[in-house]
Subunit: 296 residues, 2 copies
């Protein structure tokens, strides 16, 4: 495994792998503080690609002024051990100066998809994500790029960018990885106190209950599902709901009020963002109501 | 010369040239209605590249609602003759549906550089340019891309985009091509009446006079140059000035008021946009005042 820190080293390392026939190249962009979710991305990349590049970069321009950029957890040594164990061939760890030698004047913005969910709560966040991911795509020129579905909106936004800009890369969405008790893995889980950690289970539990209610016909409309989610989450006194939404996926459009969910075409997403103290957690389930309806 | 109209044909044609060792690939993006300015870009590309790709696409998203998108002159047959004569290997002529199979939700925006000159007069114009050029770069993946310096601000904006997004292409700016009487070549010159055409010479003439005044020490500051440009242009009764500016190049920053131009570091641009009836013409001169000062 090669660890590279400059643009020149990265291009040279990827170029060598290509010249020696070790394609296709897969990119796993991360902000580090790696966990089993990231490991699952590396393994999936390893199955599909001859060369797996992982980037570790806490991207300042996707953090708002009152967010946790400075506090975001970092542990390079542990990250490198995980990357090596899970088969990364090249790990790119740039400094902020390497990625932004001067303040970027160029931004990539995806409209519509970014107005809801985390886009509404974190203005400018997705512009920062699309811009840095486009930079990484240009630097690595991967055939495939791997992203976890915990950030489902990010997946939808990046797919839109790739399609709209005719980028030569395929986005591969990978399933959410959870602790055994259901909590979705996140580098931010480290912020949680023991009591917050216990109550944070309400995210996955409320999503499971809502899905079950749709399956059993106890919740028929988006409004009913939203009420159910909200009422379950409110049972946890430390939980402060940022949003609890039911939208189409990947279009992220609202479902018509009167429509029974089981009548919706294609996939829908139930998505949550909930604060515990200063820690904001997200989780979601994507499913096809028609298939659920067929099972009933 | 191959003429291709779909994304698939384009990728196949460029891929063939690459596989058969006919690189590097040069791209000459145009809106068609080709003239000797475009021909000079093709010749420059031919000197540097094994494969020259020209695109002809009148890009709707870079036109404002009251601009000349519908009226923009088109003549595919004549364009193809010129492209063939000047050595294009592949000509890409997509329809609007090929470039935008659905309305694009993704925009690339360059800040700061786009607030002045044509950016101020044509809001959204440069977002349309950067977005379509990024698409063309992704489709063709050229090593070099050739742009005329008549659109000097476009060159500055595209260079910024390429640098900020780590794009794998070098922008090659090419000199303005003029009629023998000095008028900068433009597809829009066809709009001019005989009298407008005659009076339009005031653009190049005023720029030459302003440059001479700087050389001879008769105009020392940006304000004095601006006054001189304005007063010369006002001598043409049909001329309606949109802007007459003196800025740094490629930064497009204003020069400090009191600074004699000959003290400015690096290059400066004198840039004009002038309307004749419904036709808006632009022209500019880029030069290094220090070199001018050294000549005096």
């Amino acid at each position: 495994m090669r660890v590279v820190r400059t643009v020149e080293q990265l291009r040279e390392a990827v170029g060598f792998m290509r010249r020696t026939g070790q394609g296709p190249v897969g990119l796993v962009p991360t902000m580090g503080y790696l966990h089993e979710g990231h490991a699952s991305l590396l393994r999936r990349a390893g199955e599909m690609c001859g060369t797996v590049v992982m980037s570790i970069f806490v991207n300042p321009i996707q953090f708002g002024p009152n967010e946790d950029y400075e506090a975001y957890p970092r542990d390079e040594q542990r990250d490198l051990e995980l990357a090596e164990r899970e088969g990364a061939d090249i790990v790119f760890i740039p400094s902020v100066d390497v990625m932004y030698p001067r303040p970027t004047r160029t931004k990539i913005a995806v409209s519509s998809l970014t107005t809801r969910l985390c886009g509404a709560s974190r203005p400018g966040h997705f512009d920062g994500v699309t811009t840095v991911v486009a930079k990484l795509f240009n630097l690595v020129q991967p055939e495939y790029a791997f992203f976890g579905l915990k950030d489902a909106q990010q997946v939808a936004v990046l797919r839109q960018m790739v399609e709209d800009l005719n980028m030569n890369v395929e986005i591969i969405p990978c399933p959410i990885v959870r602790e055994r008790d259901g909590l979705a893995l996140s580098s931010r889980n480290v912020y949680l106190s023991a009591e917050e950690r216990r109550q944070a289970l309400v995210l996955s539990r409320s999503l499971q209950e809502a899905r079950k209610a749709v399956e059993e016909g106890r919740a028929e409309t988006a409004g009913e599902v939203r009420e159910l989610l909200t009422s379950v989450i409110s049972g946890s006194p430390l939980a402060d709901i940022d949003y609890a939404e039911i939208l189409t996926f990947p279009g992220l459009e609202p479902l018509e009020g009167g429509l029974p969910l089981t009548g919706a075409e294609g996939e829908i997403i139930m998505a949550l963002a909930v604060r515990f103290g200063r820690t904001r957690l997200i989780d979601n389930i994507i499913f096809t109501p028609k298939e659920v309806a067929a099972l009933v």
